[in-house]
Amino acid sequence: MALDFSVKLGPLELSTPLMTASGCSGYGKELDRYHDLACYGALVGKSISRKPRLGNDYPRTAETAAGMINAIGLQNEGFDAFVKNTLPKMRGFGPKAVVNVVGHDFDEYVWLCERFDAEEGIAALELNLSCPNVAEGLQFSSEPGPCEKLVAACRKATQLPIIAKLSPNVANIASIAKAAEAGGADAVSAINTLVGMAVNWRRKEPLVANYTGGLSGPAVKPVALRCVWQAANAVKIPVIAIGGISNADDVLEFMVAGASAVQLGTILFVEPDAGQTIYNGLKERMLDAGVKRIADIVGTLKQRA
């Protein structure tokens, strides 16, 4: 049986529903050392800002139960260096290149969208509306008004498909997803990390220098599943699932709950070839369940009578 892995995210067509999550795969070159990246429909790069960002002090990561906390602080080389040095390589690995952009204010997001619009070979822009590790990062993801206004301004600034990446650290993620849709986003991705904390009581110190950080990994999967399901029920645009996805069953659970594609994050820190393993697992599961087109299972969660 020939299997069809292709999925559509509005105007963005992917050869498989697997993507990498921003901040978890660099810009592709490290993963490419492990295997051919054809299992991925797209690679999503680490957030790029207008100017280089130094990042947070060390230590930046701490392991927690079935997960980890990170507070990297958006360290990146900035737009100019990225476009000159990194983007050309990122386009060359096979999967489509999605650029994740982050601004410290409204104007920086718009500036980045305008500039990236002029670059070749970018499949979509993902707006990081929700980094929990910088002081100014949360406003666009926590209130529908600012979220819609920002997405609308970015929409005007670029022809590229826009994915709005949502935060779980909100009272009502459905309302934020709707605001992103109303602003003109082509898709939403959910979730970014949950704000968390880890402490060493003997040393009386936080385990990351930033005190708090973003919790990720299998520990957050149930929260992500709930958020994806709520967002998918609230909007007509596609939803991309992120949050603790570690195997083929996780992928299919999210797709049944309404995700059109998924991003792999923390699992890549543990298993650099997770994309290949999961792709192989999806093939087996689809053959086993008689699913020819993976897109057919999107949003098939049964309504309870």
Binding site: C24, K29, R33, G55, Y58, R60
Partner: protein
């Protein structure tokens, strides 16, 4: 569309033996010929202790010994462990037949200077001595002038030093409580050895607690001897994607430094570039 030359980096390997040195220190011997062939002293690999969700992240280890068969063919590596948390506790309970999963070799190794007369001073503290056995195994056949300065809190923390016997380096030991070797810190040994050089070219490699490596770097800077540190740091991925395991490296920018990933720019870094 491969753009990088790929070598095998993921290895499912068997433990062949465990040796205990007491006080939580242990050595695991691993049947890993492919890894042993590729690995250079100072590189590391990242161990997934088990395939469950906790502990989730891998644990970085240096290769301790490079294991060879009777004909000198590399057949595996060993790791030196100290039980400090859940991951190392699980490793300390392993023995023949248990399997672990490795990602490596990773990072940049120690690089010897071209001049074969250069004295190589290896300065290690506690568990940070681990990469130097592999170093000596690798460099002794080249007839290099090797000296190991080993420091630890007490004899209890240096039980594994017997594995360095007859390895091909001169060895001096210092312990803070004086229970083995000279009483004091390893930096006392280093200062004496640098004075004794009397113009002989030297290079220092160090691995251990950051405070010790910082002190070693300062002493070497004053003595005008180049020094390189293998940085131990908290890593999530170990192969360059998470940006977690950073150290401050001098840089001509508004901050005077940048954060460099120790897993890919290191772990061995030029001390003169580091801000401790």
């Amino acid at each position: 569309m491969p753009t990088t030359e790929r070598i095998k980096l993921l290895h499912d390997v068997a433990v062949t033996r465990r040796t205990d040195f007491g006080h939580g220190y242990f050595e695991l011997y691993l049947d890993a010929p492919e890894l042993a062939r590729e690995m250079s002293a100072g590189q590391f690999f990242n161990i997934r202790v088990r395939s469950e969700l906790f502990p989730l992240l891998r644990r970085p280890f240096s290769s301790f010994d490079l294991l060879k068969d009777a004909r000198g063919k590399p057949v595996g590596v060993s790791i030196l462990g100290h039980t400090v948390g859940q991951g190392t506790r699980m490793l300390a309970g392993m023995g023949e037949g248990d399997r672990i999963h490795l990602n490596g070799p990773l990072g940049h190794p120690f690089e010897l200077p071209e001049n074969p007369d250069t004295r190589i001073l290896m300065v290690g503290g506690g568990i940070g001595l681990a990469p130097f056995l592999h170093s000596i195994r690798q460099w002794a056949p080249e007839k290099r002038d090797l000296m190991l300065l080993a420091g630890g809190r007490s004899q209890r923390d240096l039980g594994f030093m017997k594995r360095f016997a007859n390895s091909g380096a001169n060895i001096l030991i210092a312990s803070e409580d004086g229970s083995v070797g000279v009483k004091g810190r390893v930096t006392v040994l280093l200062e004496a050895e640098l004075k004794a050089l009397k113009g002989k070219p030297a290079m220092v490699f160090t691995c251990g607690p950051w405070a010790m490596m910082d002190a070693v770097a300062q002493i070497c800077l004053q003595a005008g001897v180049p020094s390189y540190a293998s940085l131990e740091s908290i890593m999530a991925c170990g192969y360059g994607v998470c940006n977690g395991c950073v150290a401050k490296v001098k840089e001509d920018n508004e901050h005077g430094f940048r954060y460099a990933k120790t897993c890919v720019e290191g772990t061995v870094m030029d001390c003169s570039r580091l801000i401790w």
